[in-house]
Subunit: 292 residues, 2 copies
């Protein structure tokens, strides 16, 4: 898995039905995440007559084909959380074809996915990232993952998060968890600081077992697992008080997050340098950051 | 100037005396900047018996040859200001030789320079960047520049800053200012936002007129001009009150600064990806930043 050779990816362009199935799943998952996170904001204000924070939605259209929907909420628990879905298609530029399997002789592509990044008011609740996608060229695959970035060490949170992902992985392949965990550790790493971005999770790409349903189900499971475990971690910690020093640690930790996203993240670099939608690409930026 | 062809750079490795002259200049300029900025902090506290902020110094050594000195101050006027000097030398890696003139057949290089970045407490005072350097391979040249990034529009500041740089340029070559101003506008640009980083200034590179003294004098003049005009702008504005909205505009403007430095700045990218000194490279990061 770590020595992935994209030339070995089985050929298998997805049917329209498969594309529609994925697309609908990403939208449903978005709706469920939005509902769940808004519910948390409401619970946090149970002692107030004021309504809880709500997501705001913005749509964008891509020159060349497709577009997306950005949902952003700024609340009392979620300092800033973005949930993006997008479905884009068209022709890949010469420059990027060498990076994308299955485009050597045909530049057409289709891609649909969901991306979530949450930066929390409390430094005692880890930031989280979850993203899954379905890509179709003359080949087709799924990719994605989920990982947390705690500011203040908390073994229980890391254990619970990884345990949930391990269980999801194990339902499909006994090797997935170890492979995808290593991939995540390797990917979310800042070489210039010799630091991992956070406490990891899983990261996978070019997933094609030749069984579309199984690969889609695994991808759905990653989304559902995220939607179960992260709210649990939030609720368990959201009433704990934090200190100013802990908040400062979080603000500095966010600086590393920014460094990773702008210096190394393939999605960010790809999006920015190919004229993607700025608001969608930089949705992941923390609301407030410090460098010392 | 804009269509610079490095193959036309005259051959002329600098003598040891020339290197020592530059190196000493960068150190003297650093000392003067530090003294001047500390004096401003003292003036700002003239109504207090507490002493003003002072620069703290840190040294670093480079594996492979040379090193540098980082001076950082966090004050009431200068929220965070860094003044770095460094002199490094050795052999350039294969990977970077294609980018550096005069290393095609000989990988040796020597480089000395100064770099200043100031982020101000007041959103009514522009952030500033000044950097000059002397590079020696089988060719030799000077490079650098100075530019300001206002958060709140202020025509007077922009006019004064550019006027001072124009006068400095005009003392050497009537074409310098226009050329170096365009180069600056082109360099400090964020294509993904179609925005300039700030209000510009000058930027020059590969400067070698075959007259070492003249090129060094121009580089000195850029430093001295910065040291005269920027403190004037600071003093003229440092007692003005600002609003919370203005501060927020500044914090967001700093986000663009971070985006530029991590996504596009050649020095930052070069430094981080070749294992340079992290503290020195990221000295330019703003102390506090917001993304909306």
């Amino acid at each position: 898995m770590k020595k992935f050779d994209s030339s070995q990816l089985p050929i298998g362009t997805s049917s329209e039905t498969e594309k529609q199935t994925s697309l609908k799943w990403f939208r449903d998952l978005r709706d469920n995440i939005v509902k769940t996170f808004e519910k948390i904001e409401n619970e946090a204000r149970s002692d107030s007559i004021l309504p809880g924070a709500k997501f705001e939605r913005k749509n964008w259209v891509r020159d060349g084909g497709g577009g997306g929907e950005i949902s952003i909420m700024r609340g009392q628990i979620f300092e800033k959380v973005g949930v993006n879905i997008s479905t884009v298609y068209g022709e890949l530029s010469e420059e990027f074809r060498s990076n994308i399997p299955g485009t050597e002789k045909n530049s057409s592509f289709w891609a649909s996915g969901i991306s979530v990044v949450a930066h929390m008011q409390s430094p005692l609740i880890p930031a989280v990232h979850m993203n899954t996608r379905h890509i179709v060229t003359t080949k087709r695959w799924f990719g994605g993952g989920a990982d947390i970035t705690p500011s203040i060490e908390n073994d229980e949170q890391v254990r619970d998060f990884h345990k949930a992902l391990r269980e999801a992985c194990d339902r499909y392949n006994p090797e997935y968890y170890e492979n995808f965990k290593s991939w995540c550790d390797k990917y979310f790493y800042l070489p210039h600081r010799q630091e991992h971005r956070g406490a990891g999770g899983i990261f996978y790409d070019y997933l094609n077992t030749s069984d579309f349903s199984q690969d889609l189900n695994f991808t759905k499971d990653v989304g559902e697992t995220f939607l179960k475990i992260y709210p649990e971690i939030v609720k368990k910690n959201m009433r704990k008080k934090w200190t100013k020093d802990q908040k400062n640690i979080q603000l500095e930790k966010r600086g590393r997050y920014v460094e990773f996203n702008l210096l190394y993240d393939r999605g960010t670099q790809f999006g920015l340098k190919t004229g993607g939608n700025i608001d969608a690409i930089l949705m992941s930026m923390p609301p407030e950051v410090r460098w010392n």
